[in-house]
């Protein structure tokens, strides 16, 4: 399945696989099975990811929390010492825990990044509604996405206006007061704007029904794709259960 084929896949299938993979891989206990999961995710990304460079860049950014785990867990978790540097004792259990988190986190993110790389928010909203997500939540998702750009634009204008008046960010009360005022103004404008939006919707006959015009059709290949992905995930879970129970 290439990136083009991924683009043509029903977004419901992509979301189901992304969610299923996130939950199944989170449940893994064994390092070997987690490593296998990461290898499978990397192969999947190699075949399907539209742009490898941007995927790796995003993956690195998403590893900030994993870095925090590496910086704190190996020397704070009690266990068998395997490395001693001065007063710092690195435990085997701590290193294994950090390693497990790294493998699982990157496997889940690789799958998520690959599956959602080509998906637009409108498609995602439609897919979530068809997957029986509450209509109000879908409404909230699409409206929040729509107004992020508007509010970001307004914030940029305020920043430019402040910069033109010689404002420079530094650790001082003046900076905090200016940021507080700018954000306060943004909140006032946003709430006023939301009232105008609702009035405009009422004028156009909005009565609480929210129609999405994008049609989604599940084809045979989408069903095969979801079934095979869930089969692989089930195999990983079974393997993990076997390895953990038998202490292989």
């Amino acid at each position: 399945m290439s990136s083009t084929a991924m683009h043509q896949t029903d977004p419901r299938a992509l979301l189901l696989v992304a969610g299923g993979a996130a939950f199944c891989l989170s449940c893994l206990q064994s390092l070997v099975v987690s490593g296998t999961g990461l290898a499978l995710a990397a192969i999947f990304a190699c075949v399907c990811a539209p742009d490898w460079r941007s995927l790796l860049k995003r993956l690195l950014l998403a590893n900030l929390f994993v870095l925090f785990i590496w910086l704190t867990v190996p020397w704070t978790m009690p266990g068998t010492d395997i490395l001693i540097i001065g007063p710092v004792h690195f435990s085997r259990e701590g290193l294994l825990l950090a390693m497990g988190v790294t493998l699982k986190c990157n496997a889940i993110l690789l799958i998520f990044l690959t599956l959602t790389a080509d998906m637009g928010l409108l498609q995602m909203g439609c897919a979530l509604q068809k997957l029986h997500m509450p209509v109000k939540l879908v409404f909230l998702l699409l409206f929040t996405y729509r107004y992020i750009h508007v509010i970001a634009e307004e914030w940029k204008k305020l920043q430019t206006a402040a910069a033109l008046r010689g404002f420079m960010m530094q650790t001082s009360f003046h900076t905090y007061k200016t940021i507080g005022n700018m954000l306060g103004l943004t909140v006032i404008n946003s709430i006023t704007r939301s009232h105008r939006i609702y009035e405009a919707m009422l004028l156009r006959g909005f009565s609480g029904d929210f129609y999405l015009t994008t049609e989604l059709k599940a084809r045979r290949r989408d069903i095969i794709f979801v079934s095979s992905c869930f089969f692989v995930l089930a195999c990983l879970l079974c393997a993990d259960l076997y390895v953990t129970c038998c202490h292989v």
Partner: protein
Amino acid sequence: MHISEGVLSPTVLACGYALTAAGTYLGLRRTDYSRLVTTAVLASVFFVASLVHVPLGPGSVHLVLNGLLGLFLGWAAFPALLIALLLQAVFFRYGGLAVLGINTFDMAFPAVLCHYCFRSWLGKAGVVRIAGAFCCGAVSVAGAAVCTALALAFANEGFVTSARILLVAHLPIMLLEGCIVALMVSYIAKNKPELLHFTQ
């Protein structure tokens, strides 16, 4: 700080989703479409504010503003934060699908608590209002840090010290957030005081 994928145990993930589902259900039930537009726009403000980096000492931190969202929205902060965090996961890969439940609960629960504890302070004038706004900003961030630390500590005993470090690291952010929310509320009180008279 958002917890990443692969860190928490299945039990903690399931608890996070159950609690967030309950909060979101309550939030959506109490919100009609007229308030839902305001909720969406304020969720966008939360998203944009999380990109604002404020200088603090030699580095900088980004704002959270979950307390402010809770103040204006009450229980609707749950769906608003759920959507904002889903968008952050999609665009910036902060958090993820499996941890969305627990990350939403960590942010939204303290926000709702602050709504009920401090909203009456904001209708009053002078120092009480400023103190209420400061407490709202600071307590919501502190609550979020405590919930995140508890989730980590319950997931694995190896994360207990990491959870403690996380809590201590949030102390300056807590104070900064309190100051910024106090200054924001003071600006709103001067220019649009009717926004601070909460009736819900």
